[in-house]
């Protein structure tokens, strides 16, 4: 492999990894705050993709604009869904187990409803830049991927600023690090959970809008995505945003190399292979905290 080819593959991997990082961020945030593994997260990314697709196809609104619009729309949707579903099982000693079943059911329901309303055929938004490319010497960068990765980076930085500098952000981080201590200093952890669920949903919606022009999608595509996203966040350490970003970038680059050297069919193996190794060597993930038994 030439150096140029290696650089080319690395760049493509990083661009894709940026979007994966955004897709995974909501999942890891929610796990960090509530210890909820939201198996429906990728189904809501597909919903976001349909949002981006119909906004473009029906109204001519650029998917990049829809990415911004999706944030408040999906946030409100998330808060409503949370209020509807979670109060019933809160306080149950089997909360985490129950949420796995509940979000699994939610994923099926979301998939069924989307298949019913939007049909099961392949969709893809096709704004003009989705077929363009920037060429720098021998390096070829698809414009769509460049835009989506940039948008992902902006949103992730925004999320970091929110967590690091706002009062609610402090409350969210405190709850992630030590739920008991957060309660003791007066954080209303239920409110923080509601807001975090809304934020997770907003991130899924925004990521979906970006995905709408990156990959062809259809309702049941989410099973494939959730598997990859789970392996990313387990690799990075569940509940760690930094871990999710580094895991996503690293694995996407690795997958790009595997795809080039061995063949595209083998790319998904990278994620699960890495997951396997991490669980053997460092079960808490690269940036995760050891859980005391």
């Amino acid at each position: 492999m030439t150096l140029t080819a290696a650089l080319q593959i690395t760049i493509l991997g990083l661009l894709l990894g940026g979007v994966y990082a955004l897709m995974a961020s909501g999942l890891t945030l929610l796990f960090g705050v509530m210890r909820v593994v939201n198996l429906a997260h990728a189904a809501f990314i597909v919903l976001g993709a349909f949002f981006g697709f119909y906004m473009w196809d029906g109204l001519g609104i650029d998917p990049l604009v829809s990415t911004v619009l999706a944030l408040p729309v999906f946030f409100v949707f998330g808060v409503i869904l949370y209020r509807l579903l979670f109060p019933r099982i809160e306080g149950s000693p089997r909360f985490t187990e129950m949420t796995v079943l509940m979000t699994f059911g939610l994923a099926f329901m979301a998939e069924g409803l989307m298949s019913y309303f939007f049909t099961g055929i392949f969709r893809s938004a096709n704004p003009p830049y989705a077929r363009d490319a920037v060429i720098l010497g021998d390096i070829f960068i698809p414009t769509g991927q460049l835009y989506s990765a940039t948008a992902s980076a902006v949103l992730l930085i925004g999320l970091w600023v929110f967590l690091k500098f706002t009062r609610i952000g402090y409350g969210v981080r405190a709850t992630m690090q030590n739920r008991d201590a957060a309660q003791i200093v007066g954080v209303d952890v239920r409110r923080v959970s509601t807001i975090s669920f809304g934020i997770g949903m907003a991130l899924a919606g925004a990521a979906g809008s970006l995905v709408s022009f990156l990959f062809p999608f259809f309702p049941s595509r989410h099973w494939q995505w959730i598997a990859i996203l789970l392996s990313l966040i387990v690799l990075g350490g569940m509940g760690s945003l930094k871990g999710a970003v580094i895991g996503a970038l690293g694995l996407a680059v690795m997958a790009a190399f595997v795809s080039d050297v061995i063949g595209p069919v083998w790319a998904p193996i990278t994620f699960f292979g890495a997951l396997f190794v991490v669980l053997l060597v460092r079960p808490q993930g690269l940036f995760g905290k050891k859980v005391r038994a």
Binding site: R167, Y170, Q177, N178, A181, A182, I184, V185
Partner: protein, 252 residues
């Protein structure tokens, strides 16, 4: 009128049995109290119930003239009661400074938080030195100081401290006790204390409550209570039954 009145509360965890069967205590302002009793007596549970982390199944808790029983923990804190639990509940990946800022979460006003932060850094010089360090890198004693300082951020009227010297070297526990004495003396904070080193705890306190099997057995002046023959019965006579009862309250 008493600052805090706990009237016949009954409480327990989840769907489990009652840990507190019937506890009533009266707490007067600017006084230090020590709560003593064998393992599983319900001491920590009493604190958690007052703090709002557990809802009482029965009875009432009146603070400053209003009932706070069953209120959310943040509302109890807002009323002026703070709780320092025994497991040093820090925010491990925040700096010492950020931990203290979190203590002022309910103050809302950034300037108030800053002023209070400066005041407390004077009381706890070690925390001023460590301000930029991650809390998880500090020693047990320093973490204990951090959680106490964090609790003081909202200038509470009543502070409940659960086993502050647990697992600390004697020299460090002496420092912690000196700080508690300073809180009650100079700062006029009313203190409820659980201390496994009963002798030390009683030296600090003015008054003591003796709990066993989920209810208050008796109370009295802290400097006289150790001579009470009932204390010996409680700690020595119960040894046989204690081994079976010990884990009903795991202390966490």
């Amino acid at each position: 009128m008493a600052l805090l009145e706990v009237k016949g509360i009954r409480a327990g965890y989840g769907n489990g049995p009652d840990i507190l069967t019937d506890v009533s205590i009266n707490v007067e302002e600017a006084t230090t109290y020590c709560v003593i009793g064998p393992n599983g007596a319900g001491k920590s549970t009493l604190f958690k119930t007052i703090a709002g982390l557990l809802k009482p199944r029965d009875g009432d808790i009146v603070f400053d003239g209003t009932s706070i029983a069953g209120r959310r923990p943040d509302r109890v804190l807002d009323a002026g009661i703070c709780f320092v639990p025994q497991d040093r509940t820090i925010f491990p990946q925040m700096t010492v400074r950020e931990n203290l800022v979190m203590g002022g979460f309910l103050l809302r006003d950034r300037r108030k938080v800053e002023t209070r932060l400066t005041e407390l850094m004077e009381v706890f010089p070690i925390l001023a030195q460590r301000a930029g360090q991650l809390a998880q890198t500090m020693s047990g004693g320093e973490q204990q100081m951090l959680v106490m300082a964090r609790a003081l951020m909202i200038s509470p009227k009543l502070m409940m401290i659960d086993e502050p010297s647990l697992g600390l070297a004697p020299q460090m526990s002496d420092q912690i006790f000196a700080i508690i004495r300073q809180l009650s003396g100079e700062m006029g904070v009313t203190i409820l204390l659980i201390e496994q080193n009963v002798k030390k705890g009683l030296e600090l306190a003015d008054w003591a409550f003796v709990l066993d099997l989920g209810s208050k057995r008796f109370e009295g002046r802290a400097d006289q209570i150790l001579d009470d023959p009932r204390i010996r019965d409680l700690y020595l006579g119960k040894l046989a039954t204690r081994t079976t009862l010990a884990d009903t309250e795991d202390g966490s």
